[in-house]
Symmetry: C2
Amino acid sequence: MNYQFSARLGTFSSSAVREILKLTQRKSIISFAGGLPAEEHFPVAAIGEAFQRVLAAGNKALQYGLTEGYLPLRESICGWMARKGVTVTPDDMLLTTGSQQAIDLLTRIYIDPGDVILVERPTYLSALQVFRSYGATLISVDTDNDGMDLDDLAAKLKQYRPKMIYVIPTFSNPTGKAWSLERRKGVLKLCRESDTLILEDDPYGELKFGDASVTYPSIFSLDEHPNGSCVVYTSTFSKTVAPALRTGWVMADPEIIRHMARAKQAADLHSSSLDQQTLYQLMEHFDLDGHIEFVRKEYESRMRQMADLLREQQWPGVVWNEPKGGMFFWLELPESVDTADLLKTAVDLGVAFVPGISFFADEDAKKNTMRLNFTHNDLEGTVNGMKRLNQAMESVLVK
Amino acid sequence: MNYQFSARLGTFSSSAVREILKLTQRKSIISFAGGLPAEEHFPVAAIGEAFQRVLAAGNKALQYGLTEGYLPLRESICGWMARKGVTVTPDDMLLTTGSQQAIDLLTRIYIDPGDVILVERPTYLSALQVFRSYGATLISVDTDNDGMDLDDLAAKLKQYRPKMIYVIPTFSNPTGKAWSLERRKGVLKLCRESDTLILEDDPYGELKFGDASVTYPSIFSLDEHPNGSCVVYTSTFSKTVAPALRTGWVMADPEIIRHMARAKQAADLHSSSLDQQTLYQLMEHFDLDGHIEFVRKEYESRMRQMADLLREQQWPGVVWNEPKGGMFFWLELPESVDTADLLKTAVDLGVAFVPGISFFADEDAKKNTMRLNFTHNDLEGTVNGMKRLNQAMESVLVK
């Protein structure tokens, strides 16, 4: 038959990362592309025990659950967040299928076609995809090593009167940057004054490197919270426990949470309550903070290994900074290089990365950038991948 | 701050069923409201074993998975569906968070605001909620015991030129009806001729009562499938295995599946792959067909118990039919009774049901109807609940 797809369809371009993920299931490819955690660090035994506890509690564990998510897990997360200076109750929180779904549900209830959303330049590509699918107009704000440029933000708040601003202030995807406290407070103040909602995406906040005494309070924690807050905060267990359980959470003013829950009811009734109950048992009977500290150290060590290897390459005209946390290096190549072309060469040589262009909201994109993940490969994989990447680089860089 | 929600927000009224589900978590209430399977029949031990098999296969089980869903499970479902006369490949299929998400994703890629969707009168309330949230105009088609009225359908196809028609031909929610073969073929022919997409929702097809030799082929199986099919078919493990694993699937022309997968990528990257892998191991190492036959028999027996109890009540002017399968009785009361009012009395007396009004798409709703679930309570619960319901009924019926 003759299908008549919706106008919205054109906005669902397949994300480069996901398409490359498919490609890199070929064993021969060493991938620096996906944002994958290290499999060997997943707490498999503890998850197995947690699951058995869930089933031992009785058949009711397998019944339909609440749209808002398993209450004991929401309570556990509240307790855990309280230690980070955020006072919330389970009514201020919704459990989602990863934080990706939190981005989708908030956009669904808050954004009409034509509304403006301000974003960082560059920012998380799959958030851009969601915003576009709801017909939002995306405007990038200038961003330096300390975060969003407050003057540019103030000007764009005035010029575009956006409904929302989307930020990853703590170990950005794709750049690994951490915003200064001053910028966090500045953005909060400007948004509060202009009634602009802040969506703070924080999947990587636990993965902090360097001086342990330096802390990065969430923008949500700097605001009145949660009642009347202009910040919606989302995080996930995907990077600290494991992605397959697909469990994220979102915290906000209870009015926003109530509306998001209703949208979720229509979207999928509720997320896997088996996974949510397993995570609850894990938080109760497993040293999650100890595990996160272990993973954090491992990732810091992998980051330093990759930094050493990048230094060794001495690629002319290639600029990068050590990430302050998270999972990614962000490289800027000479302006003549288009990394989308370079990716084809690289994949032929058996290594993958994500071309930077996907992370820019508007046409002012830097085609000469790339994102490299350092968490997924072990040292041997990283060394070999870097050799292959060097071969690919030699085809475009003049040493 | 002053929140500025989207225009879409008003469409997310909370579903009556879900709100009642919350209410009926009070232990004192006997609920005939929710569409809950019987907990005591969940294959808990087999699920536990399946889960251990997943973890034993290695840490990779906990990594990010494909948006389309775990390939071996898609293959297993293909094999299972083949025995029901449907030839599909994993490329014609997407795994979703319950079939609810399949309804949401298809609507997202197919329906623009103002597009018309034809539905049965009455039909599944949470599908109506999804359609409304995307701005669809909903038109009901007259429906009798054999399915949609073909003359009324033909007239409304001509008058409204709908993009889609949504049907539950096999053991409808809320009525428990099964369409005749003639109606299935008639609807398929009319929709094919008018390029109207059919969304066939089949959560209950396995739960068939009565004469085992009577079969109800899916409309999808009656069409060319899947290439160029005008049918999108969705089903779920929620009623045959357990809801907490939140795993449904949708089968359609690969072009439709590809677009739905891209929409899903934005919505939540992928559903719980831990649950999907567990279901795959369950299908490999457990007699799923035998289990379904066991559940089917139990539900048929519960249906007959409730039918006997309903007959005993001898409520004047109350009309109902024995459901041919599925999970629900549909009662029509005298026209003077508004079941939304009756529900308040009933809940005070400790019993709950769903008022029929929620299942109607347009203003021409029958306020004097109710849906009763017979699968969740055991005999004692059903007997006691019926006593309480009878007390409530006495307040509105003149014997």
